[in-house]
Amino acid sequence: MPLLELQGVKKNFGATAALAGVDLEIAPGEVHALIGENGAGKSTLLNILSGAFPPDSGELRLDGQIYFPRGPADARVQGIVHIHQELSLCPHLSVAENISLGLEPNHFGMIDRDAVLRRAHDLLEDFGCTHINVDAMAGSLSMPDQQVVEICRALASRSRIILMDEPTSSLTRHSVEQLFRLIGRLREQGIAIIYISHFLEEVREVTDRFTVLRDGKSVATGKLTDVTDDQLIAHMVGREGEGADLFGERRSSNVPKELVLQVRGLTSPPKVRSASFDLYRGEILGVGGLVGSGRTELIRALFGLAPSSGEVSLRAEILKRRSTPANRIRSGVGYLSEDRKHEGLYLQLPVADNLTATGMQGISHAGWIDLPKQNAVSEQIISMLNIRSARPAAPVARLSGGNQQKVAFGRLLYQGPDILLLDEPTRGIDIRSKADIYREVRRLADAGRAILMVSSYLPELLGICDRVAVMARGVLSPARNVSEWTPQSIMQTAISESPSMEAR
Amino acid sequence: GKSGNSSEKTFTIAVIPQGSTHEYWKSIHAGAMKAAQDYASQKVNVKIIWKGPMREDDREQQVQVVEGFLAQGINGIVLAPFDKDALVRPVEEANRAGIPVVIVDSALNSQVPISLVASNNHHGGELAAEEMGRLLNGKGKILVLRYQEGVSSTEQREQGFIEKMKSEFPGIQIVSSNQFAGATRDTAKTATENLMNKYGNEVQGLFTPNESSTAGALLALEDSGKAGKIRFIGFDTSDIFTQAMQGKKLDGIVVQNPFRMGELGVETMVDHLLGKPVEKRIDTGVTLITPANLMQPVSQQLLHPPLDQYLK
């Protein structure tokens, strides 16, 4: 008997049919992949399973019994936990407190604090993340560390089914491997896992069976060993033979070599200890490195979001003006945050406002917004990036995670900066849309823009960057031509004590 | 030092009103200052500390002011209690701390104070009722707009008015007496506007029991063009009331003598401190002022106590 069985599950959000008929069967100890394009309904399905909201129709059975959770608490009692796509920790609680939240070991209501700490320690150790201080406030951790804590929290609850919504979207390779090891152990204990990811190679690594969602319907299911990537993609998009070349043609830059951004000895305590590099027109400079190595902080410092010292010159002009994002934007710098929910988007506000947020002067006259123009500009970006079910007037919060990320990227297209600082630009974006993003990044480089791109996804770094530098413990290695790097050498440099030595 | 240094005859006396922005309290203040000045010629040095509660409609705030003086080494307190019961404890604590208290303006439910210097509020209400009855020839419908819940002095005025009306003028019907004006002119104006919209066409009279309610009601009547068409009797003094009476928009006000209250309050306290016997109850009287007697010197003196002479 299957552990979990779904039949004809439907869910509408107003006029949007998020789920239009999903069938699913999961056996105990099975790791089941749920794949589909952005907005296909994957997260919605998991939300229904974890009791966040009820389905409109359809039948859910757990152990053969009708399963109708009245809320997340109820789902948890019945053994289903959910690792959300958007991180959701309590920022004011410590790591240990977050991990045992809702399941605090206690004697008559008094928390057993030792047990709380012990549990957190054990889980983090299992994950090979001993660098995370269990007493630290969750809000002070980096995104990847928060992701780890969130996963640990789910593992802490003894559950029968774990729902994982893109758990690796901001993990580096090392943590991903630890996670897979843990998933293997869970599977042996008979725990079932539903696993969402846009990385097909990951999916093949940990899961046995798959279900493809398309437009809210389950369109294919089976063993992964029976299908090729191209077949999977065909199921996802509903057409045959689009074996898209993800990264496009390697191009020979025809833009004259002109230095636009020169950075010397940049430090931004405590994360960035030393970074020097040159960025030229028409090139894509990739930055690799481990979790917490300081790449995000490097970009934030360059954009004026974090205090820094060192010499930064823009188009041969040493930047003296107080570095604020406003000044940077005026100097033609654009920034894409890795944390779209907290630093990127205005979730309640319309898509149009989000897309045009960095430069309202382009769509306004003397402070008055030209609404038709704003609309037109937004429509254009929406179709260019294929942002699903987005109307300019709809709040961004109503989009799926990947489509929100596209809005954040689309804002840069609208801003049209000279220098782009991208931090994990394809986080949560489906495989076909990634190609769209890469195409746009390429196009911008070809048009003479300079691009600095932080990524933890090695194929991406090696696939579209011209040169790559690696950050290790706050020190940036010299940049070298992408052809000189291999995945192994990047990892080697990333874990070295002093990357500059390694590279020389 | 807690007991008075009667050999040098220097007394510090705290005078605690219910508020400080109303003209009524200013008059008490001026009266108190006058008493202090008068003693100077008798070689008794009286220092007045004038301090009201921060929020003017809150017992608790006044309790805090009284308490604040307990640790300050003053010789006596002259208090206009906001409430006859709420201020009992602090007054008794003052007594325990050796600070005598004189009550002015309205009574306190305690045997501790050495004297009560006040006008008879109930009688004030009765005066207003008699005048109203006379003006309406004993028949018609009227409104009573109360001041605030639980304020004893205005409650007595309202009661005096209503009781007198019922006993002496059975032909006059009080159509509403459950609406409150609230603490300020603004709330009083709003309340009157709403009230007049409902009853404006059927009533011939209006009574309000203190300065802010009278002023607010007057504004509302002026705004709606009803001023002068309705017999209106108020309470307390204000320049605009005088003008209104001249303009026949107000038919009378019942006034007390706050200046005299302040003066007698301090005198009683100093006499007590000097060891002289004092009376337990001193009545400072209420007077009805109407357009008819408005210009008489007695009225003018009540309407315009010499504030400027004694304040500053």
């Binding site: 402070g367 | 819940e149 504004l219």
Partner: protein, 333 residues
């Protein structure tokens, strides 16, 4: 915000036209409901809806309404201002004093409005430069402005000579063709202008942006601190104007007036759909919120209920009106 948005936003949906219609007219439902209740309860519904009574209600709403316009901007930006009542008192005193000193009516008005703007500026600076949360910063200026009002007024009320300012907020305007007091027209005009500014200008969108996500706004190059100073100063100007209206209603500057008005003003904005977490709210909604409260108060008096019944009814109806609104938007989700 993160706490609530999923729940909140799942409540949104349906076709754009329908939504826009609802956004616009949704709040009216509460108002209509309140009026309908009183018309049904009342023995003489005609009186409740008589032009005279409507004039009274409108005149009584002016102060809260003008305050609510400024408060809407502040609340959308995820701020709050508790100093409203104190600013109203201060501005009423300053206007009256200016008139007493022989200033012209128009300069006296400007003085009152200006002084409100100054307090607002102080609020903005305390919030951005001293890093004090709006609740505390404006609680502080509440005390300061109230104290200054008493100081300037010499702890008395200030009775200025009569000018046309006194006509601004009367219930029955001298010129009958005005229908309602000039102050009502002024409030309406300002509401329309501010509504348009919020929806159609870069300033307005930035107000929504910092209220929705301040961190993101900073990263999008919005000068958040500067914008906040503008927002609180603008709010102060509105509260100052409300103070002028207060002085017009009472014909005097009263340093003790308008205690606690801030709660009414904030309630008006929230009843009208504003969220204290920022990013949501509309001037039209706030105006309706202010009217709902004024009709409630007026209606309770018309019913001849005792004050305590009024207080209970008003409390209950405010909660129910908002609950109804939430229910409506949820049911349509």
């Amino acid at each position: 915000m993160s706490a609530g948005w999923t729940a909140k936003t799942t409540a949104m949906f349906s076709s754009p036209a329908r939504r826009r219609w609802l956004d616009l007219f949704g709040p009216f439902i509460g108002l209509v409901a309140v009026i309908a209740v009183f018309v049904m309860l009342s023995e003489s519904p005609g009186q409740f809806l008589s032009p005279a009574n409507l004039r009274i209600v409108f005149a009584q709403t002016v102060i809260v309404a003008i305050g609510a316009i400024g408060m809407t901007v502040i609340i959308i930006s995820a701020g709050i201002d508790l100093s409203v009542g104190a600013i109203i008192a201060l501005s009423s005193v300053i206007t009256a004093l200016a008139l007493q000193h022989g200033w012209s009516a128009i300069s006296a008005i400007l003085a009152g409005v200006f002084v409100g703007g100054i307090v607002g500026l102080v609020n903005g600076l305390a919030i951005t430069q001293l890093g004090v949360v709006p609740f505390i910063a404006t609680l502080g200026t509440l005390g300061i402005a109230r104290g200054l009002a008493k100081y300037f007024a010499n702890q008395q009320t200030v009775n200025p000579p009569a000018t046309w300012i006194n006509e601004l907020a009367v219930s029955f305007p001298e010129k009958p063709w005005m229908l309602v007091a000039p102050g009502v027209w002024i409030a309406a005009a300002l509401a329309v202008i501010t509504g348009i500014v919020l929806k159609r200008t870069v300033f307005g969108r930035h107000v929504f942006a910092i209220g929705s996500n301040e961190t993101a706004a900073k990263a999008c190059g919005i000068r958040v601190d500067r914008l906040k100073v503008w927002i609180y100063s603008l709010g102060g100007l509105f509260f100052g104007l409300a103070g002028v209206m207060q002085m017009s209603r009472l014909r005097q500057g009263d340093p003790t007036v308008a205690v606690g008005v801030e709660l009414d003003v904030i309630a008006a904005v929230v009843i009208g759909g504003g969220s204290l977490n920022g990013g949501e709210g509309s001037v039209l909604g706030a105006m309706i919120g202010a009217l709902i409260m004024a009709f409630l108060r007026n209606g309770c008096v018309q019913m001849g209920w005792a004050n305590y019944v009024q207080e209970i009814m008003i409390g209950a109806i405010i909660v129910l009106a908002v609950a109804l609104d939430r229910y409506r938007s949820k049911a349509l989700a």
